[in-house]
């Protein structure tokens, strides 16, 4: 359908008044909630701070200095690259991927079970029980995990009582608490899209495959997973994006020696009060995350349109 026709159709279906209101709301959303914040971020990131007055620099000059800083570090530093920050960046991306994959493996069997049991009362109760913890604030949940994983927490207590260990294990510094926290924070965003697509899979297809002798592995590989692909992709996208951009869990649950990239961004904005530098870091994280998602979507042949389903 041509674009102008699409518009005409939209207004005919919704009436002029409601149509205008909907149109205005969507436009407002796109402009004020998506475009403007990102553009102002981008704008910030392209301005110098600190301003090198000696070199004749002005505050409203455009420069790539902030990006250069992330890659090469401060000028005149001994290292050729900004090793520390780049390491944090790479580690964050890899860890976010790991969290995403971990969630995928945890959620797939659960989504399959929930999706194929056709909404009996018990299953609905189970889903509610999964949601209830998310009524609690994200930071509080992170602290709860910190307590559970702490030196005198439930887990160490149990393990010591069972005689598995005699010293409390430092889950925090081993980053185990961090991965658990990140995984837990966004697990429902993995579960629900998968649950939805698997629920829409016709049971007869599974039985047909079984009738023709297919093993469980083949049934999943050839029938269930291809059908669930859009849900898997949208779940993985959300979990990856949100994990890479998470702040609460790394702040609360991260070990002393390991920083999350968002913590660097936060430090630039909040501690150093260098918004320009922070914006550059944030933009790099955003673009890298989007690029990674798009690359994986290309590799696994997922269409953008399928994800919204």
């Amino acid at each position: 359908m041509k674009k102008d026709k699409l518009f005409a159709e939209f207004f005919r279906n919704n009436g002029v008044v409601l149509g205008s209101i909907l149109f205005f709301l969507v436009a407002f959303w796109i402009v004020f909630l998506i475009l403007l914040p990102q553009i102002s971020m981008l704008n910030y990131s392209l301005h110098p701070n600190p301003i090198n007055l000696d070199a004749g620099e002005f505050a409203d000059d455009y420069t790539l200095k902030n990006y250069k800083y992330l890659i090469f570090g401060p000028e005149g530093a001994s290292d050729a690259f900004n090793k520390v920050d780049l390491m944090v960046f790479v580690r964050t991306i890899i860890a976010a991927m790991a969290v995403t994959v971990m969630n995928l493996f945890l959620c797939y069997p659960l989504a399959y079970f929930l999706g194929q049991s056709k909404g009996t009362g018990f299953v609905r109760l189970l889903v509610v029980m999964l949601i209830v913890p998310y009524w609690i604030n994200e930071i509080l949940r992170a602290f709860a995990l910190r307590i559970i994983f702490g030196d005198v927490g439930v887990i160490n207590g149990l393990m010591m009582q069972m005689g598995l260990i005699d010293q409390p294990y430092d889950f925090i510094n081993a980053d185990i608490a961090l991965y658990a926290g990140l995984g837990y924070a966004y697990i429902l965003l993995m579960l629900f899209p998968m649950y939805n697509v698997i629920e829409s899979l016709d049971r007869n297809q599974i039985e047909a495959a079984r009738d023709m002798g297919a093993s469980w592995i083949r049934i999943h590989r050839r029938v269930v997973i291809p059908h669930a692909k859009p849900g898997i992709a949208s779940g993985m996208t959300m979990v990856f994006m949100l994990s890479a951009g998470a702040l609460a869990a790394p702040q609360v649950l991260g070990g002393t020696s390991s920083l999350w990239f968002t913590q660097l961004v936060y430090q630039w904005f909040n501690d150093t009060l260098n918004w320009q530098q922070g914006a550059a870091y944030a933009i790099v994280l955003l673009i890298a995350s989007i690029a990674i998602v798009l690359t994986f979507m290309k590799i696994f042949k997922v269409n953008m349109g399928d994800i919204g389903k």
């Binding site: 039985e207 047909a208 009738d211 023709m212 050839r222 291809p226």
Partner: protein
């Protein structure tokens, strides 16, 4: 292709909790036959088929295929292939991959599979369509692909669960002929499920008529249509006029019924009820619309009624009559060009041949 494998159901009971879905089913299906289960929706047809294919275990009784007890064997271990009510083609696989899925499972190479798919596509008259997706096919074409997919596994028994119900009337009639042809070509046993008596009668060597989990009658189309075993079969298969009453006399395989509203009528006793009817029993007599003749006969085979309405259908016409006490009767006649047209309200006398009527103990009728 293997052929002619018998299927025997021995005293099958299937229960879901307290609910008995299938009760004491005993069915012997000859190898190479086209066998149908015919019954209204919800009577347990799919449940029986699932017990044959191995998707569920009967609570009691045995399923034998080719004389072998199938107990404990899953659907993948049985020489059966099931065609689902909604076909259950894999929407994301191409047609040729769908058709040869069973070969993929057994590890055949892509080349072999492609070759076999092309053979089967020729057989179902869809040559060169292997690279399409199921969604790009019409309803009848999908139907044929589902058949090819099931046949590709070289089953001894093909199980079909109302496979034509989603098609429009014309296509359905065409597919009946085609299915029957395919069955005769491959020569394997077909077990076919339907609620459409036309389908069952036209295609089957043998039909089992089911009612609420019970098999009322097994026989060929003629037996089921001409000599129904129960009032349910008489009223479910084809159209029938039913006369209720009490037996007033029995003479060999003929009985006289004192009907409630139409006087004494004479009828053949249906074979299943011979020896089981006694004078004074509640009985039901059935006379098909097409065996009624617009002429007076013997007193005990003649009924008088008022013409209510006449429907002309081209090759035939139906006359709706109202007898004594508001008794509704339908009569059907072929259009032979000598329509003895009756005006509404005319009183007419019509008769039938006692050998074309059947009487049996009273029982439940099929609800409309």
């Amino acid at each position: 292709m293997s052929s002619g494998v018998d299927v025997n159901l021995e005293n099958i009971w299937i229960k879901f909790g307290d609910f008995v879905a299938v009760r004491e089913a005993n069915v012997n299906i000859n190898g190479g036959d086209f066998f149908s289960f015919l019954g209204p929706s919800g009577c347990g047809k799919t449940t029986i088929l699932r017990a044959v294919s191995g998707f569920l275990n009967p609570s009691e009784g045995r399923v034998l295929i080719g004389g072998k007890d199938m107990a404990g064997l899953g659907p993948n271990k049985r020489p059966t292939a099931l065609i689902f009510q909604n076909l259950a083609l894999f929407p994301l696989m191409k047609v040729w991959e769908n058709i040869t899925f069973s070969m993929e499972v057994s590890g055949a190479s892509a080349g072999e599979r492609r070759k076999r798919a092309d053979e089967l596509l020729d057989m179902i008259a869809l040559p060169g369509q292997g690279d399409k997706l199921p969604s790009e096919l019409s309803g009848g074409q999908k139907q044929r692909v589902a058949i090819a997919r099931a046949l590709c596994a070289q089953p001894d028994v093909l199980l079909l669960d109302e496979p034509l119900s989603a098609l429009d009337l014309k296509l359905r009639q065409h597919m009946r002929t085609e299915l029957r042809e395919i069955q005769q070509r491959v020569g394997i046993t077909f077990i076919y499920i339907t609620h459409d008596q036309g389908e069952a009668l036209t295609m089957s060597d043998s039909v089992a008529v089911m009612r609420a989990g019970i098999i009322d009658q097994i026989g060929d189309g003629h037996a089921v249509y001409d000599t129904p075993a129960t009032p349910f079969v008489a009223s479910f298969v084809g159209e029938n006029n039913v006369f209720r009453g009490k037996i007033s006399a029995i003479n060999g395989d003929e009985a006289t019924i004192a009907t409630n509203r139409s006087g004494e009528l004479l009828s053949k006793i249906t074979p299943a009820a011979v020896g089981k009817l006694n004078v004074g029993d509640d009985a039901m007599m059935f006379v098909r619309p097409e065996v009624l003749k617009m002429q007076e006969g013997d007193a005990k085979t003649t009924i008088s009624a008022k013409v209510l309405n006449e429907e002309f259908e081209g090759n035939s016409y139906s006359i709706y009559l109202e007898g004594e006490g508001g008794k509704q009767i339908k009569m059907a006649m072929p259009n032979l060009g000598n329509d003895p047209h009756k005006a509404k309200g005319d009183m007419v006398s019509f008769s039938y041949d006692a050998s074309n009527a059947v009487v049996m103990p009273a029982g439940d009728l099929a609800s409309e």
